[in-house]
Symmetry: C2
Subunit: 188 residues, 2 copies
């Protein structure tokens, strides 16, 4: 970030009044340009004992299996994001049920949310970002071919606590293992 | 957003190849500038039957009561954000326990997360953004003087389901009440 997106003038790095950390500040119009983590939302879409996975048609991790997931857009809720991503990547209609996992990934400034969902129809078809969509039995999940660690954790949690509880954890938080907190709230 | 933050040239609005919605694209360097929702994180910090509230020293809602909360920063986890905000706004040390609420606010491009927490020490003191910090009994929460609707919902959920369950809901999603989904996962 080098130029002000409002006025086009060069930015400098400074701690604004009342703030406690350096920000990108415009020397011309005074705007402070904050940078914040992004939210990635995905779905664990179930059909009986199977879960919907997509094989990625894009980098990174082209050819690897993933849950339908992607960046949340302005103007939508997290549940709507889960439905939209599942539609875009797998052509699949879902009913969102419960929050399944919240996984922080501080090194890449992301928060990953996964919702538990029910597949409404069996017809699925890969979208532009997928090579293939397939329903895997929980016993047959391709653990060694999963694209991302957050996907692995979300699926692991589904296998360990089918239909219940929320996984809350943080990945690679400043390399300190005692900052990695994992809590599961089992449902009644 | 009018100018490219990378090269300073004017932006235009166009649908990038492989995308399905208009973005701000740089006509000079080609960079696509995405805009995404921001995450606000707060804490319901308990001391026995009391909960920590702060009276706001800043606009909006100057003088109204709120839970310690604020924008998540790059490089931290959501739990760390809850601890930091509680420290900055109320001088309070907490131990984060469970995820308490996820409240989408699509009209303002925000996702609000609240963690249930335990106050570690009784000494609290208003930070720069607070006029006052106080521990309120759940029976004495100043419902008519709360700063924000998400704070009201989070506190309401604490009163309704003390110590258990996650509230997942969406506020004002495109004005349609049937898009407002509320789910509570009671803990065992
Ligand atoms: Zn400027
Ligand atoms: Zn540019």
């Amino acid at each position: 970030m080098k130029y002000c997106s409002l006025c086009g003038h060069p930015l400098r790095v400074a701690v604004p009044p009342g703030d406690n950390r350096p920000r990108h500040v415009c020397g011309h119009c005074g705007e402070v340009h904050y940078q914040n983590p992004k939210v990635v939302v995905g779905a664990i879409a179930r059909w009986e004992d199977r879960v919907l996975l997509c094989r990625r048609a894009i980098e990174p991790r082209l050819g690897w299996w993933t849950l339908p997931a992607g960046f949340m857009e302005n103007g939508e809720s997290t549940m709507e994001a889960a439905m939209r991503e599942t539609w875009e990547e797998a052509g699949a209609l879902i009913e969102v049920e419960d929050l399944h996992a919240l996984i922080d990934v501080p090194p890449i400034q992301q928060v990953h949310l996964f919702y538990r969902a029910r597949l409404l129809r069996l017809d699925i078809a890969p979208g532009e970002e997928s090579l293939e969509t397939r329903l895997f039995r929980l016993d047959d999940i391709p653990w060694d071919e999963l694209a991302f660690e957050t996907v692995r954790l979300a699926l692991r949690h589904e296998v360990d606590a089918p239909g219940g509880g929320i996984l809350v954890t943080s990945l690679g938080s400043k390399g300190s293992s005692d900052q990695r907190q994992r809590r599961t709230s089992p449902t009644a």
